[in-house]
């Protein structure tokens, strides 16, 4: 069609403004998390008894908290921890879950059956509840947040990749590879994986939001990152007691979390669009 041909000539940033906004937000967030020391004017954990609960001003952009700590500096430094949780809590399930899905889908059989049954049962449970239950067993702390999310998160990827493998298994080029006598390992890694991994990666982009929010929720409940470490959920939790007279402690960390979350969601949506058009 003519319209279609014309569309191609328009540069990508003009047709997908939302995707570009997403990329800008995510890149900015990553830069902040790498170089907080160049942006934050104060030490995030430095107590200042002379400036307690000061409202936002030129000196303290986001005000100060009950220990006189600069909220802006805390929010900036927190980006490092929150992004870390978002990214690393996603990467491990992405890799492990995809491999499990690949193997289960390719070989099938009893193991696949049992595995999928267990995943189906566990996945009907809310993510938050599963993570909290595991946190209860493991105890509080940042390391345990990772472990809890890893233990729960891989299942979605396994299911997703397995579904794709089942479709692909009967494709002609896989048949051809098998007839040629390639080993299972080669077929799985060289032929299957490149074709199924894209949907898992796209899912991961929005999964980062879920993992980041879950990590922050755990810290908000007091189960995760412990004070005085700056983390968005933890700062919000500390600010909750002062909500009546110091709204800035809760407002700004949440705002940063919301913007980062929206950035990753836009990125994920944009990637999904690309995948869909590629598929057609």
């Amino acid at each position: 069609m003519m319209r279609h041909a014309k569309k191609r000539e328009i540069p990508i940033w003009a047709t997908k403004p939302a995707f570009i906004v997403g990329i800008i937000i995510v890149v900015t967030a990553i830069l902040i998390s790498f170089f907080p020391q160049f942006i934050a004017p104060y030490d995030p954990i430095e107590v200042n008894s002379k400036a307690i609960l000061v409202a936002p001003s030129a000196e303290h952009f986001f005000g100060t908290d009950n220990f006189g700590r600069d909220v802006f500096s805390r929010v900036i430094w927190a980006a490092r921890i929150d992004l870390q949780i978002g990214v690393f809590a996603t990467i491990v399930p992405l890799i492990f879950g995809s491999l499990m899905g690949l193997i289960a889908g390719y070989y099938g059989g009893v193991v696949d059956n049992i595995l999928m049954r267990i995943i189906d049962i566990l996945m009907t449970f809310p993510f938050t509840i599963l993570v909290i239950v595991i946190m209860t067993i493991l105890g509080q702390g940042m390391r345990n947040i990772y472990i809890a999310i890893w233990l729960v998160g891989w299942m979605a990827y396994a299911k997703l990749v397995r579904g794709e493998v089942l479709v692909l298994k009967n494709a002609e080029f896989i048949e051809a590879a098998r007839v040629t006598g390639f080993s299972d390992k080669r077929i799985l890694l060289r032929h299957m994986l490149p074709n199924v991994v894209s949907s898992a990666v796209v899912f991961a982009a929005s999964d980062v939001v879920l993992c980041m929010l879950t990590g922050a929720s755990m810290s908000f409940l007091g189960l995760g990152v412990q004070p005085p470490t700056p983390e968005w959920g933890a700062i919000l939790n500390e600010g909750r007691a002062y909500i009546m007279n110091a709204w800035w402690i809760t407002f700004f960390p949440g705002l940063f979390m919301a913007i980062t979350g929206i950035g990753f969601s836009l990125l994920g949506d944009g990637l999904t669009d690309f995948l869909r058009t590629k598929g057609k």
Partner: protein, 312 residues
Amino acid sequence: MNGLNYILKRILQIIPVVFIISILIFLMLRAIPGDPARLVLGEKATIESIDAMREKLGLNESYIVQYGKFVKGIVSLDLGTSLTYQRPVIELLRSRVKITLMLTLISTFFSLLISFPLGYYAGKYKDSMFDQIVKSGALAAVSMPSFWIGLLLMILFGVKLRWLPVGGWGNTFIEQIRSLILPGLTMSLLTSALLIRNIRNSVVDISNMDYVDFARSKGISERAVKNRHILRNALISTVTLLLMRMAYMLGGSVIIETVFSLPGIGKLMVDSIFGRDYAVVQALVMLFAMIILMINLLTDIIYSFLDPRVKF
């Protein structure tokens, strides 16, 4: 009847699931490092009372016997005693579960109220300004932390405007409903966003179907086309999604109830984890699991009735 058979089959399918879940929960307390008797009694317990508790919990017996007793306890609703409250766990649950169920119902109500008009008109006027705004709003709602939204609503309506209570629970019914409005609204945002996307997309898809064009060309009024064809079909997937979301809202109750200091089972869960009140935690996990299984069962049954294409 075939429908009855299907329901029976689905109920029977739940039995192995309940079995697996009960084993997982049974193992949960034993997976926590330390002596379960000490975990149940707390750090300050004396050696004698720990020995007595070990005997009572049957920890000196084999795992199979222990598991049998555990199941017997659940069936006879004897869930142990809360360490923090010094009351039978079952009593504690009975007084708390009502609040969480009310919260879930209110937020379901809000979700429907928000998502149907927005989703329908966004789908009907696809790609319009309105559609763009609704779509962006939905995307923002799924990307934001619910506890932050809750705190913002609290600052605005509780602290600044003073229209609604900042948190806590009331004594009279009116007070209770008032204290559920803000948490219910907070909880409904994520669900609304997901429902809006679903309703919008099904309205777009269905409006392009031949039979809707056909209905219009027959001269049926726009209103009848909307009610009889478009909304009815959008309803099937939406109801299914909504029921599934109710299970997730229960999970969200842990956070929302903490934000608004609502004494429901979600807050009880957090308090019990901090108080190392493991008898309560165990009972709550079991309760959550049972409610979620029931919701799933209900979803499947309702879905099979709504969508005639499902074969029994």
